[in-house]
């Protein structure tokens, strides 16, 4: 076929990124439509303050969704992120309020405690589901209960408070109106994008999501890659805990209930396939924005709580239907 010669003459750049952008254009368009709609129909939507608010509000979901993207790409799912976040926050809250530390040490201790807790929970999820080849849905459902119970046990169901002032500052710091915590999330997105697209590790994660057996027969240790994906997801849950603490200045053992569904929704609205192997973390970014903009805009527009919930459902469905037509159109 003549197409072959065509590709031979093309420059040797990776066309991967171009395709990624196109793949996400559909959901990007849905996002644009939402933004346009709210800009026209509400007064305050496009004000700097409100944009700051939106960025702050999507941060936690975005951080969780980045890790979730790794797990979903290998064909898994992690229902425990909300609970693990709470558990990590409680452990870190206990650490940060330990007597006898200066603020800097206390903060460092908290960050270490939160990430280690997250990493440990994620690793357990990964090891169990990979070693026995068990459905991660049910393993992480177990972890959802374990981590929540542990968070409540450790904190005795009490909200932990009075963190060092510097920690609060980090939570509310801005750079040109952009919350620092959002920049942290964005940084995670970029790192994840890089890892998924430009490293052997990322390539193999996609491969495992598509055809685990083929990757195994090509001599790769599928087990470790799976454990790694879940561990990354646990790690981002730990980071989310830190963001939560910095932003609200408390650690609540009942934080994060239902956050897993939001994170998964961001990933899937972003075009990543639940059966694994297809998708991108840039899509996840857009998916998180859709959810965040929707939540913000529907309040600004003054819809009642109940209507708001219904419309949220409708828009989520419409967004993926739109994406279907985009995919159909661009594949021609």
């Amino acid at each position: 076929m003549t197409t072959q010669t065509l590709s031979e003459t093309m420059p040797k750049t990776t066309r991967f990124s171009v395709r990624t952008v196109l793949q996400n254009a559909g959901i990007g368009l849905a996002l644009l439509a939402l933004i346009l709609f709210f800009s026209v129909f509400t007064e305050h939507f496009l004000t700097p303050n409100n944009i700051t608010n939106i960025l702050t509000q999507i941060t936690i979901n975005l951080v969780l969704a980045v890790g979730m993207t790794f797990v979903i790409l290998i064909g898994g799912i992690d229902l425990s992120v909300g609970s693990v976040m709470a558990f990590a926050a409680v452990v870190a809250g206990k650490a940060i309020t330990l007597p006898g530390f200066g603020p800097t040490e206390a903060i460092a201790l908290a960050i270490v405690a939160a990430t280690l807790t997250g990493v440990a929970c994620g690793m357990i999820n990964g090891v169990i589901s990979a070693y026995w080849a068990l459905p991660s849905f049910i393993i992480t459902l177990g972890m959802l209960n374990i981590a929540r119970g542990a968070a409540l046990q450790v904190s005795d169901a009490q909200t932990i408070y009075s963190f060092p002032y510097a920690f609060e500052e980090f939570g509310s710091a801005m750079i040109y109106g952009v919350p620092v915590v959002f920049l942290v999330a964005l940084f995670l997105v970029l790192v994840a994008w890089f890892v998924l697209n430009f490293t052997v590790f990322g390539r193999l994660l996609y491969g495992i999501g598509n055809n685990e057996e083929a990757v195994r027969l090509a001599g790769h240790s599928v087990y470790w890659y799976k454990v790694a994906a879940f561990t990354i997801c646990g790690f981002t849950a730990g980071i989310a805990a830190i963001v939560y603490m910095a932003r609200l200045n408390i650690s609540s053992p009942i934080a994060g209930i239902g956050f897993e569904l939001n994170a998964i929704a961001a990933v899937i609205i972003g075009g990543t396939s639940l059966s694994g192997g297809r998708g991108s973390v840039i899509g996840t970014l857009l998916g998180a924005f859709i959810i965040g903009v929707l939540a913000n805009g529907l309040i600004l527009i003054g819809l009642s709580d109940f209507m708001r919930q219904m419309i949220t459902g409708v828009v989520i469905i419409v967004a993926v239907i739109l994406d279907y037509y985009r995919a159909k159109y661009t594949s021609k």
């Binding site: 509400t42 007064e43 305050h44 004000t47 303050n49 409100n50 608010n53 702050t56 509000q57 936690i60 929540r148 409540l152 005795d156 169901a157 009490q158 909200t159 408070y161 009075s162 609060e168 509310s172 939560y244 932003r247 609200l248 200045n249 408390i250 609540s252 053992p253 009942i254 934080a255 994060g256 209930i257 939540a295 913000n296 309040i299 600004l300 003054g302 709580d305 109940f306």
Partner: protein, 283 residues
């Protein structure tokens, strides 16, 4: 060992209000030493079924008294009736069973507890006094459909009416700090002229206070409900105007005392045994 057995049914123990209440009950059990306490909570605030299951389990175990904080004032009437028919002493505390529902089921049951609506009105009144007529306020509600959320919203609305406040918006944040933070930030964008906020519990009030800090607004007055330890500093440094203490720690213990009284052959309780509520402010 023939000590009377008391079954305590609470709402979600993940909620620190009930957790503290339970700790109070356990301390009380140890102190009195003349009864055995079996306590259960729910998985979450809306898990009515597990309370009904708990009642059924207690009937099975043949406890002497059931002391219950109903998650739904209507759903619990029938199972509690069953317990009473099984000869178990039942005491209803924290949230009153629905009067209509009781009447329909032919149940006579006293209520031991605070006046949620009255308590919310205390907080609302504090805000009203501070702002004066025409003050622009919003309400952050609890879980829609939950009785105490309803009561507290009604109490706030009573204050709004009495002080002729201007209620700009009223939304749920499902009792949750993070959601209150987001929801209130967005309400503040929509209504930059807000002057006062009534949060139906302190967890949500904390979220509101943080949102105000991020927005750099120190001109907005916040009241909450529950008096959890975390809001103590906020009240003393003026970030919050007031909260309401309903002395949850003692509530269950007091109700148990009343139940044991009846078990020992004392008279049936009647009407509303009101427990104290108190407005907590900086001074």
């Amino acid at each position: 060992d023939d000590k009377p057995v008391v079954g305590l049914i609470m709402k979600s123990l993940a909620n620190e209000f009930f957790q503290n209440m339970m700790a109070g009950a356990q301390a009380h059990e140890e102190k009195r030493g003349d009864y055995k306490l079996l306590a259960v909570g729910m998985q979450n605030e809306t898990d009515f079924e597990s309370q009904i299951n708990a009642v059924e389990n207690f009937i099975t175990q043949g406890v002497d008294a059931i002391v219950v904080a109903p998650a739904d004032s209507r759903a619990m009437v029938r199972p509690l009736k069953k317990a009473m028919e099984a000869g178990i002493v039942v005491v209803n505390f924290d949230v009153a069973l629905d009067t209509e529902a009781k009447k329909q089921q032919n149940v006579e049951l006293a209520f031991v507890g605070p006046d949620n609506r009255g308590g919310a009105k205390l907080a609302g009144d504090a805000l009203g006094k501070k702002l004066g007529a025409g003050g622009k306020v919003v309400i952050i509600e609890g879980n829609p459909g939950a009785d105490n959320a309803n009561e507290r919203r009604l109490g706030f609305e009573d204050s709004v009416a009495e002080f002729e406040l201007d209620l700009l918006d009223s939304r749920t944040a499902h009792w949750e700090t993070e959601e209150a933070n987001s929801v209130f930030s967005n309400m503040l964008t929509a209504h930059p002229d807000i002057q006062g906020v009534m949060a139906a519990n302190d967890s949500m009030a904390i979220g509101v206070v943080k949102a105000l800090e991020s927005a750099g607004r120190d001109d907005i007055v916040v009241v909450g409900f529950d008096n959890i330890p975390a809001v103590g500093p906020m009240i003393s440094d003026g970030r919050m105007l007031a909260t309401v203490d309903q002395f949850g720690t003692d509530m269950a213990a007091n109700s148990i005392d009343l139940a044991l009284e009846v078990v020992k052959g004392g008279p049936q309780l009647e009407g509303w045994v009101k427990t104290p509520i108190e407005l907590v402010t900086a001074n």
